[in-house]
């Protein structure tokens, strides 16, 4: 391993911490892995969705007659075909709004709320015919004024998206309709007093644009109803059970009538939790009496799946001359898109989690606007907040003349730090990350080249547990099958198999992991929130422990010994007092058939004890003063993984997250015209970084064990996207003297800032 990727290990294991080849790797490098778009069924129809060209409009009428008459068309549906249309308001009671939002999000009934909002769908013999049929559907729209900016949407005179939406302030409901769905506030200590004690106070307003997760595989779903009324779905999702629940909700079906098979997934990053197509494909399939496959185009992915929200923030921090923080405050508004539910609460929770400060206050607003409903995107909410907080902290350091790492070490959150929303941190590795950054060759070598600068920023994600199920069955040849419900996006088959192998004391190659459908495993929450290696890993460990206990019992039977006299150690079962009696895992497996049949361990977990993630990033940038273009010339990401189960894939998560952050920092944005239409729904104009835009991304994995997991695992997938925007902004400041307070920091914006500084 080169020095560019370091792992600072505290504990060595046999399998955990090694870098084996992933079990699904060969299928993926040979093109044999089956993704959702690859599903083939006899008599398969293809579906297309008609989408609103308007960001905001009332639907007066929809006429599908001509489309239905087109040869090759097998079914056409609108919102009238969804169960919601048949339910009365009285029947729905308090559930009315929630179900209307869920149903209208699938297919709009009375209003369209964003360009791309589905209004009808067609199933036909092929996608070309379905597309032709879309052009024959006549929709009479009454266009309405749209609002896409989060602050504009908060104004009293803003066009209202939902007539019945009122602001909920922790259960207190506002007295008139509003685009502000929720307001939350948390406070610790006394911020007024804290700012009063400060020698320096910095207060800034910042904004960020909507960005997309940018997975390369578009959404897809294939639906088929068996004649017994069982619905089968094959789909690309981060959570098969989440799809099942969402479809059951919208189609008013019991979950037992839906089987969801998660296909290989071509990237998600949070964007493949929402089920956009499945209910539509299912409804079309029911109407047509044939299986229906539906694929989104790239433009549909941009316009009608969930971006991360745009945001507005006001950040205020105060410190003594020695750098000690006295008070921090954040006001943040995030756009939820067309329906409530932005990650503003995550932003509030994460914003100051890197700092131990006595006085703090955070206020957050969840605001609906005429954009597609936002979805989760890697550490949802935290990157926006970190852009605000970490750039303002950098300005504070500059004013105080302090090194940014020394300043953060002085104020670092550590075990015992009480966060603003209340809970107290357990053992966390932020200080260790800062120290690793300070001691890194990168930080000790000045940035190279003219017009260059270095930025430092930190980030936090809380990580999550949630429910997971695993089954381990022992094959008679001594291998084990590891069955799980966690979809594998970035290599979790490997990391979970490693934990099972470590626990059983057997070789990694002897564990055969597989991801199965919703009928074949217990409820398992999504792959997301940096939970899978932690929580499903725990489930695998528990299932393995169950296997061990049963293997002990079998050996006791074979030896006619008491179970208490037999123990499991190092992949073998042995008699505690008779050294002659020892059976390796494989030898014992061979005898299972004659001692009662196979052994299977099963477990369901819903663990607490997730360990929080911290990261520190160092970014060197070079800014061309003539064009305003920023090149990232060197980049190092330092992160506490607790324990890196498969360091290569931890590095991969860190590198991938950092690069998404670099894209977010420099070029990625939803660009809207004056009427609120997205103008750049292609990979050409939505500029994600290419290989030519980046240096190698060096990593340092710090391992401060999480006490909530036997091998010390924390989550790793989310936090790498949190620091990059601020790190790059801080680097641009060092290179140019300019403080960019709006994302993305495009060449055009940098030129504008230069011109403004130079007097127009």
């Amino acid at each position: 391993m080169t020095l560019s990727n370091q792992v600072l290990s505290e504990v060595e294991y046999n399998v955990v911490g090694k870098r084996p080849v992933r079990p699904d790797g060969v299928d993926k490098v040979t093109g044999r892995a089956q993704y959702g778009a690859d599903v083939k069924l006899t008599g398969l129809l293809h579906a297309k969705v008609l989408r609103s060209p308007h960001p905001h409009a009332r639907i007066r009428s929809i006429d599908t007659g001509k489309a239905e008459a087109l040869p090759g068309v097998k079914a056409v549906i609108t919102a009238k075909d969804l169960p919601f249309a048949a339910l009365s308001r009285e029947e729905l009671g308090g559930d009315y709004n929630r179900l209307k939002f869920a149903s209208d999000h699938m297919l709009a009934s009375d209003k369209v709320l964003y360009k791309g909002h589905p209004v009808a769908a067609v199933a036909a013999v092929n996608a070309h015919v379905a597309e032709s049929a879309l052009a024959l559907i006549e929709v009479d729209y009454e266009p309405l004024e749209a609002v896409v900016d989060v602050r504009a949407a908060m104004r009293d005179d803003a066009p209202l998206l939902h007539a019945e939406l009122r602001t909920s302030s922790m259960g207190e409901i506002g007295d008139k309709p509003s685009n502000v769905a929720a307001h939350l506030s948390y406070e610790k200590g006394d911020v007024e007093q804290g700012f009063g004690e400060a020698d320096v106070v910095v207060e800034r307003e910042l904004t960020t644009a909507s960005v997309h997760q940018g997975y390369i595989e578009p959404h897809n779903s294939t639906a088929f109803w068996n004649t017994d009324g069982q619905l089968n779905l094959w789909t690309s999702t981060q959570g098969a059970f989440a799809v099942r629940a969402a479809v059951a909700d919208v189609l008013r079906l019991p979950v037992s009538r839906i089987k969801v098979t998660p296909m290989e997934i071509g990237g998600g990053f949070g964007g493949k939790i929402t089920a956009y197509l499945d209910a539509i494909a299912a409804t079309l399939s029911q109407k047509a009496g044939a299986p229906v496959k539906q694929l989104m185009t790239r433009a549909e992915v941009f316009e009608a799946s969930g971006p991360a929200p745009g945001s507005w923030m006001k950040v205020k921090v105060g410190a003594k001359n020695d750098g000690r923080l006295t008070a921090v405050q954040l006001e943040v508004a995030m756009d939820a898109g067309a329906y409530p539910g932005s990650p503003v609460m995550q932003a509030m929770t994460c914003a100051f989690a890197c700092y131990d400060v006595e006085n703090g206050k955070v206020d957050g607003y969840d605001v609906v606007v005429n954009k597609p409903k936002t979805a989760a995107y890697r550490a949802p909410g935290s990157p926006q907040a970190a852009f605000g907080v970490e750039t303002v902290m950098d300005e504070l350091c500059q004013q105080l003349g302090l090194d940014p790492i020394d300043f953060r070490l002085l104020n670092a959150a550590k075990e015992g730090t009480r966060r603003i929303e209340g809970p107290v941190a357990r053992r966390i590795g932020f200080v260790e990350c800062l120290e690793a950054a300070r001691d890194h060759d990168h930080y000790r070598t000045p940035p190279e080249g003219e017009n260059s600068g270095r930025g430092v920023a930190a980030g936090y994600w809380m990580n999550r547990g949630f429910q997971s199920s695993c089954v381990i069955t022992v094959n008679f040849d001594g291998t084990v099958s590891l069955i799980m419900g966690s979809v594998d996006i970035g290599g979790t088959r490997a990391s979970i198999a490693q934990q099972a192998a470590e626990t059983l004391g057997i070789a990694y190659e002897d564990v055969k992991p597989m991801v199965v459908d919703t009928d074949s495993i217990g409820f398992t929450f999504i792959t997301g929130g940096s939970r899978t290696s932690f929580a499903t890993g725990l489930a695998a460990i528990e299932a393995a422990e169950s296997v061990k206990a049963q293997m002990v019992s079998r050996a006791a039977k074979i030896w006619d010994a008491a179970e208490d006299d037999v123990e499991y150690a190092d992949g073998a079962v042995r008699h505690k007092s008779d050294p002659e009696l020892r059976l390796g895992f494989k030898d014992l497996a061979r005898q299972l058939a004659t001692t009662g049949g196979t052994v299977a361990g099963q477990s369901n977990v819903d663990p607490a004890g997730e360990g929080n993630s911290y990261a520190v990033h160092l970014a060197d940038v070079q800014v061309d003063p003539d064009t305003g273009k920023t090149e990232v010339t060197r980049y190092t990401a330092i992160q506490d993984a607790g324990k890196a189960v498969h360091p290569s894939y931890v590095e991969g998560q860190i590198q991938g997250g950092a690069v998404q952050g670099i894209g977010w920092a420099l070029n990625e944005e939803y660009y809207f015209d004056n009427s609120g239409r997205m103008m750049n729904p292609t990979f050409l104009d939505y500029r994600m970084p290419t290989s030519l835009d980046l240096p190698m991304i060096d990593t340092v994995i710090v391992e401060v064990a999480n006490s909530g997991h036997p091998y010390g695992v924390r989550g790793v997938g989310e936090v790498p996207i949190v620091p990059p925007m601020a790190a790059i902004a801080n680097g641009i400041h060092e290179a140019t003297g300019l403080r960019l307070r709006s994302l993305p920091m495009t060449p055009g914006k940098i030129l504008e800032e230069q011109w403004e500084r130079n007097g127009g």
Binding site: R19, V21, R22, D24, G25, V26, K28, V29, T30, G31, R32, A33, Q34, Y35, A37, D38, K40, H128, Q213, G214, Y215, I216, E217, P218, E264, I265, G266, G267, G268, F269, L295, T297, R298, I489, G490, G491, H646, S648, Y649, E651, G652, Q655, G656, G657, A658, V659, Q660, T682, F683, L684, M688, P689, T690, S691, L692, L694, M696, I697
Partner: protein
């Protein structure tokens, strides 16, 4: 209404006959007509490289080629990259270097990388980054992909 066209092409070394509509792209033909789903669709407008195939020795985006244009020509896809004897060294290197996460862009990267190293066996990091700029990957940040290709390249710096 225009009908279907009979096309003869050599695909992964095999003489192949298929029928397609003129409007069907080579990508559609490979996936929907021939059932070769290893070639992936990411954008359908030539901006992601997931559908990269080799057409008469050059890498192209198969979404921007009509199936009928394959008439009399030679197409190589990911399905033909490994030999019966085993994986191509690049496939092996991608596995060992963890150069894939979700895997959807992987076939395109592998074909593009092979085309590069076939033409320039000693391609260095800069050349590799330039050559692969037409292939988007959102999971890896390219670091491990570039390293995997460097490892197979004969470039002196490793």
């Amino acid at each position: 209404m225009p009908g279907v066209v009979h096309v003869q092409a050599k695909i992964n070394g095999e003489d192949t006959n298929f029928l397609c509509e003129p409007r069907q792209s080579l990508l559609e033909v490979l996936r929907d007509v021939l059932g070769m789903t290893g070639t992936k669709e990411g954008c359908n407008d030539g901006n992601c490289g997931a559908c990269t195939v080799v057409l008469d020795g050059r890498i192209v985006d198969s979404c921007l080629v009509l199936g009928v244009e394959a008439q009399g020509r030679e197409v190589q896809t990911i399905e033909g990259m490994a030999s019966p004897g085993g994986l191509h060294p690049l496939q092996q290197s991608f596995l060992e270097n963890a150069a894939l996460q979700c895997g959807i862009c992987t076939p395109g990267f592998l074909l593009a990388s092979r085309a590069l190293l076939d033409a320039e066996p000693d391609a260095d990091e800069g050349r590799i980054r330039h050559w692969l700029a037409g292939n988007l990957c959102r999971c890896t940040g390219y670091d491990k992909i570039v390293r995997a290709v460097i490892q197979v390249s004969t470039a002196p710096e490793k």
